[in-house]
């Protein structure tokens, strides 16, 4: 069974204090790893897709990296508007429900204090 574990569950940072969120996964095969941002009461907003170990993608203060067993979301000099829950998901082409299914982690709730 596919498993996705995110850590920490919650993270408080001072504005400008860089840090990383972790997503570790156990899958039979990896078609893609996805990062989403979710604001309270809203649907997840797509950030990145990573396909193979060594791949990196950046968007503003966020950079996502991927290894064979985990992914990191690095946040550089965060601002209060970066406060949100960040979700990681994997797509396993061998999953029982078909190759379209995403398995989500439970998220990391990030709070950036001014």
């Amino acid at each position: 069974e596919d498993q996705v574990t995110q850590s920490p569950e919650a993270l408080r940072l001072q504005e400008g204090e860089s840090s990383s969120l972790n997503c570790s996964y156990t899958v039979s095969g990896l078609r893609g790893l996805f990062w989403y941002r979710q604001d309270p009461g809203k649907g997840p907003e797509f950030l990145f897709t990573l396909y193979s170990a060594g791949e990196e993608k950046e968007k503003e203060r966020l950079k996502a990296t991927l290894t064979k067993k985990e992914s990191f979301l690095h946040i550089t000099a965060p601002k209060p508007e970066d406060s949100a829950t960040y979700l990681c998901a994997v797509q396993d082409p061998y999953s029982g429900a078909g190759s379209y299914q995403l398995t989500f982690g439970k998220g990391t709730k990030l709070s950036v204090i001014p």
């Binding site: 996805f34 649907g43 797509f46 897709t49 998901a89 078909g98 379209y100 299914q101 989500f104």
Partner: protein, 112 residues
């Protein structure tokens, strides 16, 4: 931009009522999904559809059914709502040739 819309942001229903949640996407995506999201449990897949009139069960289909009569519209049906179906319901869509799923704003359902 991809746009996925859901018919209601908030919904309050009584136990035993039949509930319809509607989702519409405007990007001609083949795949559509229904998830529920609960504190401590994360997002869990209820059903998905990869084409009109086609559907597949996800991880937690019990108590739910779906309908996809048109490509842009995917409905989630609670035949007889129960209190344990109180949750945030999220719809998503993706093109057949791409894995990224795009989510709607969610419907927060309260069953009393």
């Amino acid at each position: 931009d991809v746009k996925v819309t859901q018919s209601s942001r908030y919904l309050v229903k009584r136990t035993g009522e039949k509930v319809f949640l509607e989702c519409v996407q405007d990007m001609d995506h083949e795949n559509m999904f229904w998830y529920r999201q609960d504190p401590g449990l994360g997002l869990r897949l209820i059903y998905f559809s990869y084409d009109v009139k086609m559907k597949e069960k996800g991880d937690i289909p019990e108590g739910y059914s779906v309908s996809r009569e048109k490509k842009e519209r995917f409905s989630l049906i609670l035949e007889s709502a129960s209190t344990n179906q109180t949750s945030m319901y999220l719809c998503a869509s993706s093109p057949r040739t791409q894995e990224t799923q795009y989510f709607g704003p969610g419907t927060r359902l309260l069953v009393l």
